[in-house]
Subunit: 353 residues, 2 copies
């Protein structure tokens, strides 16, 4: 019955005691991990195949390595500076496939619409989906539309599923980080989450910042062509931010990760918004950058490749994988100290994607 177990270090409330699903269970952080590990995976039983938490699943069909990924988008508001729920859904799904080293082949889109939702808004979101899919070269091959009564949903939810094909030379997994590897980040962080929050709450920052939503499959293809299996892990730091992505990698690989605070690229308006709101930029969601864990010799050439691509001009070396403190992420601060970078425990920013 007790949540306190000193051996575990942190003591989030066990699921059996909460008995209700909390907003934090959808955060992409610690509570999400527990919901999956303690409820969903055991209940699926023999039907579940996932062992390492990845953004997408690999299935082999007749020697073909297919990758499949699904995501429900519930972002609020539906329209925000830099994008909308439609473009976010397309990019989110493409990026989840890309993080497995896959080229996206096709997409399916399912709508859940609240009765009374303006047809014009549905047209606007669908046009965004069409434009984003066409720009990325990924056709929308099938879909579904359900309508629920007023009050039974909040406007529009969009679930997108993508199917892709793994690039022959890609072999990435959250479990493949090794001590000595270098951690790269393709661009500035925090813009998506702070934009959504600022727009939703009309905080005023939305005039200066915009979501960073963009598809990363072309960047990934260029990186894989360059460094092949020297890329060990790729992850897009969406819900839960860079902190959660790095923690997932550290746990799955049973390795430590050290990053340098000075290297973390936080744009000034994002930093100002986070300061005011009491948010850690490392916990804020992104939809336009990726974290890559790569062999040491491949790091500099890859940084050059990333920086010469339209998706990664501001790519940085964030830190490295170490043999110490396996499963933990530690940051060397600008003040010369060290602090543990935890996974987001509860919910920092609900309905961010």
């Amino acid at each position: 019955m007790s949540a306190a177990d000193p051996a575990l270090g942190t003591c989030p409330v066990p699921l059996a005691e909460t008995e209700k699903v909390l907003l934090g269970h959808g955060s992409g952080g610690q509570l999400s991990t527990e919901l999956l590990r303690d409820v969903v995976v055991p209940a699926l039983g023999a039907a579940a195949t996932e062992t390492v938490p990845e953004d997408a699943a690999l299935i082999g069909v007749d020697g073909l390595d297919l990758v499949i990924s699904t995501d429900a988008f519930v972002v609020s508001p539906l329209f925000f500076p830099g994008g909308d729920i439609g473009v976010l859904a397309v990019h989110g799904t493409i990026n989840d496939l890309a993080m497995m080293g896959a080229t996206p082949l096709a997409m399916a889109v399912a709508y859940i619409i609240e009765e009374g939702f303006p047809v014009a808004d549905l047209q606007r979101v669908t046009t965004s989906i069409g434009a984003a899919a066409a720009a990325a070269g990924v056709p929308v091959v099938t879909g579904d539309t359900k309508v629920v009564g007023r009050g039974a949903a909040d406007g529009l939810f969009v679930t997108t599923t993508g199917i892709g094909r793994r690039l022959p030379e890609a072999r990435v997994s959250a479990a493949f980080a090794r001590p000595g590897d270098v951690v790269l980040l393709s661009g500035p962080i925090g813009a998506h989450g702070t934009t959504i929050l600022s727009t939703r709450e009309a905080l005023g920052f939305e005039a200066e910042i915009a979501s960073d939503t963009r598809p990363l499959h072309r960047l990934v293809a260029a990186m894989v062509a360059d460094a092949k299996q020297d890329i060990h892990v790729m992850r897009d730091p969406t819900r839960g931010g860079v902190a959660s992505a790095l923690n997932e990698i550290a746990v799955a690989s049973q390795a430590g990760i050290e990053i340098d605070e000075a290297a973390v690229p936080v744009p000034a308006p994002v930093a100002a918004a986070c300061e005011l709101l009491g948010l850690d930029p490392l916990h804020v969601a992104n939809e336009g950058c990726l974290v890559a864990v790569v062999a040491p010799a491949a790091a500099e050439p890859l940084l050059a490749t990333m920086r010469s691509s339209p998706e990664g001009p501001c790519a940085v070396r964030l830190g490295e994988v170490v043999g110490d403190h396996p499963g933990r992420v530690v940051m060397n601060t600008v003040m010369g100290g060290r602090r543990v970078v935890d996974m987001l425990v509860g919910e920092q920013l609900p309905r961010i994607c």
Copy 2:
């Protein structure tokens, strides 16, 4: 501005005038067809690939015929006699793949959960998904979980996406019906829809009836093995019922369909419920039967195959495809008359799946 055009026969309200999404747009009937045709497909633009409305899409990858299907499930209540939202989602997705002549390979599941939803109910639904997937031999390879605030969703929505591989001998499409073909139906109709409605409204019929939800991929495999390309169309009459499925086939194939009222298998409790509620059983949703349009010579052997399978002991010959009245479905009534069987126009039974 006017909806009245005598040349069109029926005159549903055009979308530009309604300007709001209606419950009927999710019915699977006429309004759903219009929403897709007039809003979704044009807005998707070049990214859309679908021309004939099918339950799933076919994509060719390196000579492999893959089939993909997605469905959002919003059924209310979540638990009902004969099943729950989880088992319905698994069967619905498997059946959409099967109706393209495909063997299901893998499934993805996305949850949208309302804050405060009981963890025990989530466990129960997930256990159902796991059991149904394991029984059907289809692994759940990936998923997603989002949580929205209280009042922003109604408990739990489940979106499932399936990927399958088309059986080498299957060549089915809603557009392939030809005059002379025979229309077969694998079992009794109306049980799913009347069960949901009766349970939701506590009408009392739910003691006598139960949802017919079941996976049909094994039945389809047996039928395709038998009749191969003599099976021209397969369709599971879910939302919008048998009437909508037949109308979609008639329109896509530009052929007429005639069915015999005497042959329509409506179980007595379903008939009683429909009578009391003023429902046409042909419009009521099913999740455990299929309609097949087959070459005349293949009809009797296929009926025998269906009747000897666990999924089709009560299979019947429902009618035939004719050269007259292309795009229309006509029923020869037990009283010796004839009547047009229309697609469901608005919404008869919301949140049935």
